[in-house]
């Protein structure tokens, strides 16, 4: 075998580190588990090891080899797994969640693929020469988002290499039971260039991987490279039901073992040197410090705020104002990318928010296939690579298809990579019923989006010009989800005039809107947001007349996190506090509001008003029976205050 000794040494280094990990694990010095790549080292070296520093790598749970090949930072890796502050990610990410200089790994199968595609797309927009590799396994071939991404990278010509390391087993499951058809045919069917190698023919592997990399760099098109290999160790630690003679056969085939047998002198020399180095390092950092909680968790500081009168744009509809703002933003910020379904002109998106954008900014507006997970995943990649993606999910109901990308990727990157990166993702989506679209096109699902770490959920409403909200959205460095409302798009940004009532806002990034009488103190407050705002405001007169109560309405523009202090400050004279939302009652936004407020103001009477906990029917009479109406609101309030 004519192996490049440099590569061999690197391979031995990787194997040594992995074996040390297993050692340390059995001594109880590692937290969590490790997924060693012993036996697969050359796959890492052939791709990650042959890239430029400006290229990038995305990897999965079995990423140590990829990491060392791309970054040479075996020390950081060891410190990371030992939980040291000096580790790659300060001990936060550990084995599966590594990040350093364009290397990213995450533990959700397939989730990294669209992110890698977005990262590559950013490179393409930057017109630099960079290419990227995303490593998947045979098991990843079961995940749908892989196929969404392959479709898009082929259609859009994105310079990404998908390297599929087929070690014939996904955890305990052999591919015989899980993989239908042919692996390469999958990529071929998307029109993607394919190649096939194995880690037992190392020369061929290095040669063809070089060709793949060059192809992608030159042509700015994707490629799929299948590498057959075998892991000599269990999936993680100790869980191995594979047949012993099968494993043994691969141990014999393993190139490093062969080298050990054919060139024992060189092997020992290399091995000992490396082994000593690694051991010494491990010993030296044994007592190093770990990250403290206040270096990881940074609670929000209380900020001062003040109130002022709210101005309106009564001649324009909300959707026009929004379109205007986004147009201006894309003009002044070349890093904004608009990505969604059906967004090209002349259609301009299902609700026309994107009207005219693709004409003005042809290179920055992407109309995708119906692939919500990929839309958000690609946006994540763009966000990681210095772009400001504006992802539109056509109907709020569909955001669930991309929820993994929001919760397990966007929301976590900053923290789990020890604040080395930011993911300023923006997802916009309209929620709300009232048009008879039925159970899967009318929902208000924001309750499933609140409380996600490091993620702001904003909500527009008809009384506040969208520019106020979006100015703040574009300032955020964390992921932001903006909940819009279908019916509100057509409404004018105008107040409902109620004699002697003022509309005021705070000067915060996501202001609270307060509607109350100028002189008399309110007896009850309705807290709401989004599409239910006009329902609350419209009930003020009726509640005063019929129930003898003076009403104040507080409208939130940020429902996660909720600013309880501002709300509590405004509730001093209200004996009753009602929350109103269009989503269903259990565990809704109202629950969060009431819980938080009752910690500050335990002596008020609280009640949540929301939709019934059933799917939203299409027929109008039933729909208005399920969703809150003004009549409901007044009668529920009436019952409660008796």
């Amino acid at each position: 075998m004519n192996l490049n000794h440099k590569q061999l040494k690197k391979a031995i280094l990787i194997r040594t580190v992995e074996q040390e990990f297993l050692n340390l694990f059995s001594k109880g010095k590692l937290n969590g588990t490790v997924h060693t790549c012993v036996g697969q080292e050359f796959s890492a070296l052939a791709f990650a090891g042959q890239l430029k520093k400006s290229d990038f790598v995305f990897s999965n749970h079995r990423c140590h080899g990829h990491y060392i090949s791309f970054t040479d930072d075996w020390r950081g890796l060891i410190a990371e797994l030992l939980g040291k502050k000096s580790g790659t990610c300060g001990g936060i990410g550990s084995s599966q969640h590594l990040c350093k200089d364009n290397f990213f790994s995450n533990g959700i199968q397939g989730g990294i693929v669209p992110v890698a595609a977005g990262y590559a797309l950013a490179n393409k927009l930057d017109k630099n020469d960079a290419v990227g590799v995303v490593y998947i396994g045979d098991g990843t071939l079961g995940e749908g988002v892989l196929y969404e991404t392959m479709n898009i990278i082929s259609k859009w010509d994105i310079p990404l290499i998908i390297v599929c390391e087929n070690n014939f087993y996904a955890q305990s499951t052999s591919i015989e039971t899980t993989i239908a058809g042919d692996i390469l045919a999958r990529a071929e069917s998307f029109g993607i260039r394919t190649s096939k190698s194995s880690t037992w023919d190392v020369e061929e592997l290095f040669e063809s991987s070089r060709q793949t990399i060059d192809y992608v760099r030159k042509n700015k098109k994707p490629a799929f490279h299948l590498v057959e290999t075998y892991r000599l160790n269990p999936h993680s630690k100790g869980d191995d039901d594979r047949k012993k003679d099968e494993i043994d056969s691969f141990i014999l085939k393993d190139p490093i073992n062969i080298f050990e047998n054919t060139d024992p002198a060189y092997f020992s020399r290399y091995y000992n040197e490396i082994h000593e180095k690694v051991q010494a390092y491990i010993n030296s950092i044994e007592n190093d410090e770990e990250l403290k909680i206040d270096e990881y968790y940074f609670p929000e500081e209380e900020k001062l705020y003040s109130w002022s009168g709210l101005k309106f744009n009564p001649n324009k509809r909300q959707v026009e104002l929004l379109n205007e703002y986004l147009t201006n933003e894309m003009e002044s910020n070349r890093r904004v990318v608009f990505i969604g379904e059906d967004v090209l002109s002349p259609y301009g998106g299902a609700f026309k928010v994107a009207k005219g954008l693709s004409e003005k900014f042809p290179e920055k507006v992407f109309s995708t296939p119906i692939s919500e997970a990929a839309i958000i995943g690609i946006s994540n990649g763009l966000a990681l690579n210095n772009y400001r993606p504006l992802a539109e999910i056509m109907f709020g109901d569909f955001i669930l298809l991309g929820l993994d990308q929001i919760i397990n990727h966007a929301a976590k990157f900053a923290h789990m990579y020890n604040f080395k990166v930011k993911c300023p993702l923006i997802v916009r989506t309209p929620m709300g019923g009232g048009r008879g679209y039925g159970p899967t096109h009318s929902q208000s699902l924001e309750k499933h989006l609140i409380g996600i770490s490091n993620t702001v959920v904003a909500a527009t409403n008809q009384y506040i010009a969208p520019s106020i909200i979006y100015k703040s959205v574009f300032k955020q460095e964390c992921p932001v989800i903006v909940i819009e409302n279908k019916v509100d798009y057509g409404k004018k940004n105008a107040p409902l005039a109620i004699e002697s009532y003022k509309y005021e806002v705070t000067d915060q990034d996501f202001p609270v809107l307060r509607i109350k009488p100028q002189f008399s103190n309110p007896d009850l407050t309705i807290i709401t947001y989004g599409g239910m705002s006009d329902l609350a405001v419209g009930s003020i007169s009726e509640i005063f007349k019929d129930l003898d109560q003076i009403v104040q309405v507080l409208i939130l523009t940020c429902i996660s996190p909720i600013d309880f202090k501002v709300l509590a400050d405004e509730l001093k004279t209200s004996k009753f506090v009602f929350t109103l939302e269009e989503g269903s009652l259990p565990a809704g936004i109202g629950s969060e509001i009431v819980a938080g407020l009752s910690e500050i103001l335990p002596n008020k009477r609280y009640k949540r008003i929301a939709a019934l906990p059933v799917p939203i029917p299409s027929v109008k009479s039933l729909e208005s029976g399920v969703l809150p109406t003004k009549k409901d609101l007044v009668s529920q309030i009436k019952k409660y205050i008796k």
Partner: protein
Amino acid sequence: MDVLEEIIVPFSSVNDNSVIVLSVKFSSGSYVNAGEIIAELETSKTTFTVEANHAGFIEVLCEAEQEVKINQCIFKIYSSAESIHVKSVGNVVEDALEDNPKVSNGNTFTVFSDKAEVYIIEKKISKSLFTSFDYVNVSIIEEVLGITQDINVPKKTEPKTNSAPISNQDDVVIEKLTKDKVLEIEYLSSVQQSNLTSNVTVDIDIDKTTAFLNERLKVIKNSVLPLIIFESSRLLKKHKLLNCYFENNSIAYYNEVNIGLAVDMGKGLKVLKIKNADELQLLEIEEKITELSDRYLNDTLSVDDLTKSTFTITDLSSFGVYDFYPLINKGNSGIMSISSTINSSCKVSITFDHRVTNGKYVSIFLMELKDRIESYKSARNQPAKTAIHCYKCLRQNSAESLSNSIHFLKVVDPYGNDNVLCSLCYEGF
């Protein structure tokens, strides 16, 4: 002035129920030529202009940036400019203030909730107490009344207590006035604070009258009250200066005579109205008194029962009170008190508002009342000796004729026969 043209918002597209006025080119009273563009309107899809078809003087009924409905009239063109006024478009103030609207916090709008309206009518509260509030409900009324001194208090969270102690608290126990009492003070202060009230008293011999009433009335016994109400109400129709009230150097005369009967049977002092008492017969008045008393005791009095009495009567005769000086209610110019019987006579006293009347006037009233009351004699004491009847109307000298003071004259009829004529026929209709 003729209306030459009414310009309405045209129907332009299926999507729109309304359009927006972008601009209005003329102000009310201006002259427009036929064909001139007077406004620009915007639908969801496009903008269009509106022209005058006639020349004339325009009245503008909309304004820029206003949303107007399809078919809404937005301009009128008149043949002359007279009486075109600039209409203010927009909000209508719901409930104008009764009193001087100048308020310390600048508020100019006040509306009361339905329950608040009932409350203030029932308790006879002045709306002027609330001029600093824009929305008033019952809880605000109660808060405000928790303070007796301070009228213009715009924002309160809890009712202020009168915190300055007036006595050394070692030797007294201090108890706050009830809300009802506070209201009463406010109410009575209305007329009395002018310091221009005065009082006249007469004694009335009620011996025979009481006997007569005990026969006639069904339930109420040994009380001249129903008769006093009966006679006073008729007299008030004549003596109007006791059936009115003073306001702003003017006298407001009531069109009706509604006697307010002051009653306190354990549930607070209330004035119960006997409406149009001058049109009720004696038995009807007795019925009304018992009805109102029942309602008082059962807490089923309506707002109407408690409002708009034109003259008040307060009867403390059953308490053995010899004499007392009643206080005039808000909205009245007089109040009559009935004190108890001593030696078959009772004192009737009227306190009156000297700003509208005077002692002589009231004395005349009382003398007439005294005469009338004393003229009643029981039918039992003077039974009809013979049954006689008027030859014209056939009225008999029955108990009814006696009670109504109808008398009979011996006359010679046209046929030269001795006959009897009743006083009604004699006096004519």
